[in-house]
């Protein structure tokens, strides 16, 4: 492992930039795929460089054979993100559990009394209106979005942005009845049935708990399940098969 590339990889990660490290396992020759392109000495077959970009997109490290050579593509991506709308009681344990699972967390709540540093020490708090905040945060396919305010004025604008994004998970707190009226409002706002169908509601896996920390566990469990196994419909189909 070349010293200069190793230092570069550590520095890029400290700056929260994505990196793929490529190593040929017979010789130990290595390269980096950085936002600026491929770096390293020696020639890297274009097919391997392309596979490294692909591995980065899919967030998946793997080995690859090319002729007599065998390469390992090691993806170092920034943490997945969790965007929570509503600095409510459930948010407090959810922030802790999500942090332990490696997520970078942002809590959006324009109500100043809720999103305080005392209630959320060390958490990235955003007091903009939820639609503006969500536009600025640009949820991507490594982002989960959770709305917890119960208040359509706050949840809905955030959802209208999130549902049109590539967020891999979107969940909303509220009963089936609450969700039915949410679906009506979002439909009236012009979202398609397919977009609205992305919402997980009532939120969380059915674990039976009622305490805020228990609900937070159910939410994080569902996010984890969707991340690794796909959404609930696929999981149910697998269980039934």
């Amino acid at each position: 492992m070349q010293s200069s590339l190793f230092e570069k990889a550590v520095a890029l990660r400290a700056d929260n930039q994505p990196v793929v490290r490529i190593v040929e396992m017979l010789s130990g020759a290595d390269w980096l795929l950085t936002p600026a392109g491929i770096e390293g000495s020696g020639s890297l077959p274009p097919e391997v460089a392309e596979a490294a970009s692909e591995a980065q997109r899919h967030d998946r490290s793997h080995d690859i054979k090319h002729g007599a050579q065998r390469y390992f593509l090691h993806v170092y991506n920034p943490p997945r993100r969790l965007i929570i709308v509503g600095a409510v009681h459930i948010t407090q344990p959810l922030v802790q559990i999500a942090a332990a699972a490696g997520y970078a967390i942002t809590v959006i709540d324009p109500r100043g009394a809720f999103a305080t540093a005392e209630r959320f020490p060390g958490v990235d708090l955003n007091e903009d209106w939820p639609d503006e905040a969500m536009e600025a945060l640009k949820p991507d396919n490594r982002t989960a979005v959770v709305t917890l305010t119960h208040d359509p004025k706050l949840d809905d604008p955030a959802l209208e942005v999130a549902l049109r994004s590539e967020a891999f998970y979107i969940g909303c707190l509220g009963s089936r009845k609450t969700h039915a009226s949410r679906v009506e409002r979002l439909t009236a706002a012009g979202l398609t049935a397919e977009e609205i169908g992305k919402i997980h509601a009532p939120i969380g896996l059915h674990l039976g708990g009622r305490a805020p920390a228990e609900i937070a566990i159910a939410i994080m469990a569902q996010i984890t399940q969707v991340l690794h196994l796909g959404d609930g419909r696929e999981v149910k189909a697998k269980a039934a098969a």
Binding site: M1, Q2, S3, F6, E7, A9, V10, R13, A14, V23, M25, L26, S27, G28, H58, D59, R60, S61, H62, D63, F72, H74, V75, Y76, N77, P78, P79, R80, A101, G102, F168, V226, L227, H228, L229, G230
Partner: protein, 114 residues
Amino acid sequence: MAESSLTNAEADAILAQARDWRSAGKGVAIATVISTWGSAPRGVGSQLALTDDGAFVGSVSGGCVEGAVVTEGQEVIADGKPRLLDFGISDDQAWEVGLACGGKLEIFIERVEA
């Protein structure tokens, strides 16, 4: 769905520790899980960084093969040659450092150059 086997924060912490050890003048090697079969406990990409004085951070199994990896890592630090190791139930070493879970895995160990 795509996944990585360890949280990104864990991966970053292992790299940072390896860098700190290098800066402190220690010999350092990094071991990485390259492939797994069956019920290997840590997934592809899991890492362990180790020093020439036997310290290590991270993990490449549930504790079954770390000892062997750290020992082999000393050789890698000494001669600078990368090594690809196989562990698993069909391995000759099964009785000593095999995986009780019945899994198999390949681990690549390389030196961090000075």
